[in-house]
């Protein structure tokens, strides 16, 4: 786990056919988020331009995206579990 989060993953699936599902060497260091500062909009006279309504809407959008992605990830693990426990038993 520590190696993976340090950007030194070791496990990678070998593929002998292009149609195999890739088990990639995903490097988490490749994710480079950036922060953008909004200097365009005006909200208050003290130059604080945080719009609480827009922030709350963005918050709920973020929550829903997280729920969607975590649900799909849980379903993927559930599928893998089915394959491991019940695979080959027809």
């Amino acid at each position: 786990m520590a190696k993976v989060f340090d950007g030194r993953p070791e496990l990678a699936g070998k593929r002998t056919d292009d149609r195999h599902i890739p088990i990639d060497n995903i490097n988490y260091m490749d994710v480079t988020p950036s922060v953008a500062t909004d200097r365009v909009h005006v909200m208050r006279n003290d130059r604080n331009n945080v719009d609480i309504d827009v922030e709350m809407a963005d918050l709920s959008k973020n929550t829903m995206l997280y729920q969607i992605e975590s649900t799909r990830l849980a379903a993927m693990f559930s599928d893998l579990n089915d394959i491991i426990t019940r695979g080959g038993r027809a």
Binding site: D53, V54, M64, Q67, I68
Partner: protein, 148 residues
């Protein structure tokens, strides 16, 4: 509009209604103001709302959500303007701001009008919140399709 277009649209309504509430509160606070920086009594202010098209989109929305569509993307406040109706004249010769005939010019604000505006503003804000909650319910029920 993308998955969350309705939420952005309603959020613009929330922002606009909140600004309108600020203006109404300012009118109520200044209902007896006879002096301003510009001279003369306070003039009633009102918000001008304008429908928002794609040019006025929040700059951080994804480029894919900015495609042309006949559906608008909410509301924006075009400006705060002054009500040009005449001031109320009240006869009070002892008032420091009275003119030579003893009349004082008071703001052109009707407090009852402002209270009613405040109620419509609150209800409009609540309607936008309801709209956002409906959009959230829709996304959550779409999520339920993939859950098992």
């Amino acid at each position: 509009m993308g998955l969350f277009g309705a939420i952005d649209t309603s959020a613009s309504g929330l922002t606009a209604e909140r600004l309108r509430m600020d203006v109404i509160s300012n009118n109520i606070a200044n209902v007896n103001t006879t002096r301003t920086e510009d001279g003369g009594p306070f003039r009633r202010q009102l918000c001008i709302f304008q429908s928002r098209s794609h040019e006025h989109r929040w700059p951080f929305t994804a480029a894919t959500e900015r495609g042309k569509s006949p559906v608008g993307t909410g509301v924006r406040v075009a400006g705060v303007m002054s009500d040009q109706s005449p001031f109320k004249l009240v006869y009070d010769p002892n008032h420091p701001d009275a003119d030579k005939d003893g009349y004082v010019r008071f703001p052109n604000i009707n407090i009852v009008h402002e209270m009613v505006d405040m109620i419509t503003c609150t209800r409009a804000y609540e309607a936008n919140v309801t709209s956002i909650n409906a959009a959230k319910d829709i996304v959550n029920s779409a999520l339920g399709i993939g859950r098992r």
